[in-house]
């Protein structure tokens, strides 16, 4: 306990961790209030206060409710008949009508709840019979899964949903932003806790004491768990307070299924109990994350490397959480950090994980795996912690007994030491890329980039996309009357084939047509069905072209799959991490090693070294940015068909908001330029902050908050955060769309303004860091 107490003391004496925690807590509070107000603000479509009033009317006097609803509906129809959609009166009546419909929908939902759940049960019972008929054993996972569904939803069917409008809870369970803040905090705090002794050089002393090994590790592990729990409770609890003090909550005793997106929540419990369950599951997931970061800290023993590795882990998790799974019950999906902590997704429905043929409820599976992982991480982490195993240093037992000549081995090991470039810039490059064998990590990042590109761009297009491509290539260019005719005829042709199915079915059954004829038709039908679905997209695009024409914009038919890959890819996260790794220590490492005193006492150790650092980092940043962009271009051009580059940009529907008539290829060039500029600004920010903060962990924390946090807030639903999101510039299109929508001095106005602001900020940061480095 004493050792644990000292871990707490060390933590609270670390001003950065405490201030950072409070800062994030304030962010959480602010964002919670902002989110609640946004969700509940009256807009032109709905007013929640009005919905509550209408519901109250339903409860007090149903007759009056129906009378008023009929009157409002009739009035609305009159306006529709007149074609009046823009008057204030119509908007007010529509809002009221929507309120009534919302209430009626909710009442309908409550009244038909058990019938709708019955559908699930009956479907599962039917599936069981089908499985038996095709020979699937009752002992198989598939059969057991249906049994589980029946069992779970039979209990859910019997829950009693109180007759009330849900208030507060539907907003709360969907609010995932605190998860993000918890993750950011743990990524910073856990390495600081684990590596506290490494950072101060006390390791040797501490590890020779009686309790300085296993007991110390246990204390650290326990403390990381405590920090995870406390952080989670506070960050998840604040939004509860925010909602309580703004809109308030409906009854905590109502069944969780009363919330419409928890319609098929598998737990037959009250909202209050569900709140505790979801808290518990989230806290367990965050403790798991802390354990992962702890293991990484012990492995890497350096804060920068740990942070980058942890960020990579989270990035991968997030990426995996966004892909579409064919098997919803996949353990990879069920154990994903972002999936587990998103209550509205994790508990949306029953999932059964296949564990050696048995069907295990996903929540039980997740809890069990997390618990086992925590135990395993505790044991493995402890062993590693005590044995001082570091990355790159193998114990004698692990050495591969190859007979390599000593001179060759020494030569390979020390090749970088032979590089002696005797000028200031040479040494800065050496320190940046070679001295700590960073080049090996860079090569690893390049490999990761290739793998990421391979999975993002290297996947072959689907059959539907090939059909879509054929149609769009056929129609490529401006809309013409011939093309309109083609579209009409093609639709007719497809509809005719599809419409014939029931006739052909009965003709085949009654022997009018042979099986060969029926097979031939059925092939045509299958193709027609797929084509019809795809062709709907083509028709939608034709409608889009007409809509653009009304707005005075010219859109063409363009096969846009490849262009969408190019323009709407996420920002280069791999390059971002590489920049963090390379440049966060540009100045901070001088202070960490204690060399700063000596350095600054030399003739060239101030302004010349300052300039040299910025220039070497700048050249490195530019080389990697261009190299990674080149990799993207190579993959894009190799794996994607990119037709009609001269077509107007608005030919790609997602660029609908663009007002300018630039071509696709012009935009492509501009996009890459903006990305390059964005990454150069990022390097300037990281390098300046490295001098201003002087500690690697504070640099990483600051840059992450300033860049990644706004980006993730957008992903979690806070769209306005996009205006201050640097990753928006790093992807270019994200910010361009915001800029085009805002329409401030054309499509690029806001983008240029943001770039100018960031550039001005960089200039200020560089000036300030120059003054502090040169002791001015």
């Amino acid at each position: 306990m004493k050792v644990l107490r000292f871990e707490a003391k060390k933590f609270f004496l670390n001003k950065f961790l405490v201030v950072f925690f409070l800062l994030l807590l304030v962010c959480d509070a602010g964002l919670s209030v902002y989110y609640v107000n946004e969700k509940n603000a009256a807009n032109e479509y709905i007013d929640k206060t009005e919905v509550e009033e209408v519901f109250a009317l339903y409860l007090s006097d149903r007759e009056a409710f129906m009378k008023e609803f009929n009157a409002i509906s009739a009035l609305q129809s009159e306006f529709v008949a007149k074609g009046d959609f823009s008057s204030d009166e119509y908007k007010a009546i529509s809002k009221k009508a929507t309120a009534f419909r919302n209430v009626l929908h909710h009442i309908d939902y409550i009244e038909k709840f058990d019938k709708n759940i019955d559908v699930f049960i009956k479907t599962a019972e039917r599936n069981k019979l089908d499985y038996i008929s095709v020979g699937i054993s009752p002992d198989s996972y598939l059969y057991r899964y249906q049994d589980s569904v029946i069992e779970v939803y039979s209990k859910v069917k019997n829950v009693k949903i109180e007759f009330e409008l849900i208030k507060g809870w539907d907003d709360y369970f969907r609010f995932s932003i605190p998860n993000l803040l918890i993750i950011v905090y743990l990524l910073i705090a856990v390495p600081c806790i684990v590596l506290a002794e490494d950072n101060t050089g006390l390791k040797q002393i501490i590890h020779t004491t009686k309790y300085g090994r296993m007991r110390l590790y246990n204390a650290k592990y326990l403390f990381c768990i405590i920090i995870s729990v406390v952080t989670s409770i506070l960050f998840l609890g604040l939004p509860l307070l925010a909602i309580y003090f703004t809109t308030g909550f409906s009854s905590i005793h109502n069944s969780v299924q009363a919330i419409d997106y928890f319609f098929v929540n598998p737990l037959p419990i009250s909202i209050g109990r569900f709140l505790l369950v979801s808290f518990g599951v989230k806290i367990l997931a965050f403790i798991g994350l802390a354990a992962v970061v702890m293991l990484l800290s012990i492995l890497f023993r350096r804060v920068t490397h740990t942070f980058v590795a942890s960020l990579t882990f989270c990035g991968l998790s997030y990426y995996l959480s966004t892909i579409t799974y064919t098997n919803l019950n996949s353990p990879i999906r069920v154990l994903n950090l972002f999936f587990i902590t998103a209550s509205e997704k994790f508990f949306a429905r029953y999932l059964g994980v296949n564990v050696f043929g048995y069907c295990v409820p996903h929540y039980g599976f997740t809890v069990a795996v997390c618990a086992l992982f925590l135990i395993a991480a505790g044991i493995v982490g402890g062993l590693l912690f005590v044995k001082f195993i570091r990355m790159g240093v193998m114990s004698k037992k692990l050495k591969i007994p190859l007979k390599i000549p000593v001179s060759l081995r020494n030569g390979v090991r020390s090749w970088h030491k032979r590089i002696v470039v005797k000028n200031l810039y040479g040494y800065e490059f050496y320190k940046l890329l070679l001295a700590n064998k960073t080049i090996l990590i860079i090569l690893l990042f390049v490999m990761i980039k290739v793998l990421v590109n391979d999975s993002a761009y290297g996947v072959g297009n689907s059959f539907e996309d090939e059909i879509y491509k054929d149609y769009m290539v056929e129609l490529e260019g401006e809309m013409t009357e011939e093309k309109r005719q083609y579209i009409r005829e093609e639709r007719q042709r497809l509809n005719e084939i599809i419409a014939q199915k029931s006739i052909m079915d009965s003709q085949f059954q009654s022997g009018i047509i042979t099986s060969e004829e029926y097979s031939k038709y059925y092939s045509q039908y299958n193709v027609a069905e797929i084509k019809s679905k795809v062709f709907f997209r083509v028709e939608q695009h034709a409608a889009y072209i007409d809509r653009m024409a009304l707005e005075g914009k010219t859109a063409h038919f363009v096969y846009d799959t490849g262009w969408n890959h190019m323009f709407f890819a996420e920002f280069d996260f791999v390059l971002f991490l590489l920049f963090l790794l390379l440049f966060s220590g540009a100045f901070a490492d001088e202070y960490r090693s204690g060399f700063d005193q000596l350095l600054k006492s030399t003739k060239k150790g101030r302004d010349k070294t300052f300039k040299a650092k910025f220039i070497t980092c700048g050249i490195t940043a530019l080389v990697f940015t261009l190299a990674f962009a080149a990799l993207d271009i190579v993959y894009l051009f190799n794996y994607n068909y990119l037709p009609a580059p001269d077509a107007p940009l608005v030919s790609i529907e997602r660029f609908e908001a663009a007002a300018s008539c630039i071509s696709i290829q012009t935009y492509a060039v501009l996009m890459f330029v903006v990305r390059i500029v964005g990454f150069m600004l990022l390097y300037l920010i990281i390098t300046s902050v490295s001098e201003l903060m002087r500690k690697n962990i504070t640099v990483l924390g600051t840059v992450t908050i300033a860049t990644i946090l706004p980006y993730m807030l957008v992903k979690f639903g806070l769209q306005d955060a996009g205006y201050i999101s640097l990753p928006g510039i790093l992807s270019a299109t994200d910010y361009f769309l915001l800029s085009a929508k805002a329409g401030v001095i054309g499509d690029f106005g806001l983008l240029i303004l943001f770039l100018a602001l960031v550039t001005a900020l960089c200039a200020l940061l560089i000036r300030r860091s120059y003054r502090t480095f040169c002791n001015l």
Binding site: K431, G594, L598, S601, K603, K604, R606
Partner: protein
């Protein structure tokens, strides 16, 4: 170099109070216990710290105004200097040479000579992280000498060295003191008593005394005594007098006592050494 009325405080703690001194060619020792202001003074001279008041001039010109021109004349060895663990010894010295603006050919020559002088030639291609503490200390000294600086500032240069190495370093410093100013900050009196031209005693940020070693020793004459006692008498003497040294002899315990008057009738006055004077100055705070 002239230091004029330098003062520096850290919050309510006054590290340096109105420090003034003039340094010419030769070795100057700055003696004082931990916390007396030695490192603060070193860091102010090298412009790693800004003083609260006062200035430093070099040949009459303010060193802050000289900027890089002044730093070109300095060789600095801080206390516990940081180095790049992955750099080799030779690489590190070459880098320092670059930072000091030494021409390449001259740098190569000086690096080779210095490695020889500090006995690190055999490990020139070893990474710094593989060196022992003493080797790192000698490397730190070597880098301070690079570029033939006119002013060399050494903060605890012999910390962590064995007696043989300490003598070797001391002799090396003495040899290189010709035509340059060397300031050595230390609390190990024996390092400087034979080589220093002048010794400055720094006590709580203020000059307690300063001057040539011989002149300072004269002030301690008649205040150092030797007396032989039994082991049972030692605690009593420790309570009554300031004991400088306790030595076991065949005929009893020989006590070396610091006292303005003869402590006991049996006591005999002995010639003082600089350490005695150090304790005379700092005895109240040690």
């Amino acid at each position: 170099m002239k230091i004029n009325n330098l003062s520096k405080s850290y919050g309510s703690t006054k590290a340096l109070i109105d420090f003034s001194y003039e340094f010419g060619k030769g070795i100057y020792a700055l003696l004082g216990p931990n916390g007396s202001g030695k490192s603060t003074l070193m860091n102010i001279i090298t412009d790693n710290l800004k003083p609260d008041s006062g200035n430093i001039t070099w040949n009459g010109v303010d060193t802050l105004k000289m900027g890089a021109e002044f730093r070109e004349k300095i060789g600095f060895m801080p206390q516990n200097p940081g180095m790049y663990p992955a750099f080799t010894v030779e690489n590190f010295l070459s880098y320092i040479a670059v930072l000091k603006g030494v021409e390449k050919k001259e740098a190569d020559k000086q690096v080779a000579e210095l490695l020889e002088a500090v006995e690190l030639s055999d490990v020139r291609n070893r990474a710094i992280k593989t060196l022992s503490g003493g080797m790192k200390q000698r490397l730190a000294l070597a880098q301070a000498m690079l570029g033939n600086p006119e002013l060399i500032i050494l903060d605890e240069p012999t910390a962590g060295l064995d007696p043989k190495q300490r003598i070797s370093i001391r002799n090396y410093i003495a040899r290189t003191a010709l035509n340059r100013t060397i300031i050595i900050a230390t609390h190990i009196v024996s390092d400087v008593e034979y080589i220093a031209k002048e010794i400055i005693f720094l006590k709580k940020g203020v000059i307690a005394d300063a001057g040539a070693p011989e002149a300072l020793l004269k002030k301690a004459e008649g205040k150092v005594w030797k007396t032989i006692v039994t082991s049972e008498q030692v605690p009593e003497y420790q309570q009554k007098f300031r004991i400088l040294n306790i030595q076991n002899n065949d005929d009893g315990i020989a006590l070396r006592i610091l006292s303005d008057e003869q402590p006991t009738p049996e006591s005999v006055a002995v010639p003082p050494v600089l350490e005695d004077y150090y304790l005379l100055i700092f005895g109240d705070i040690l």
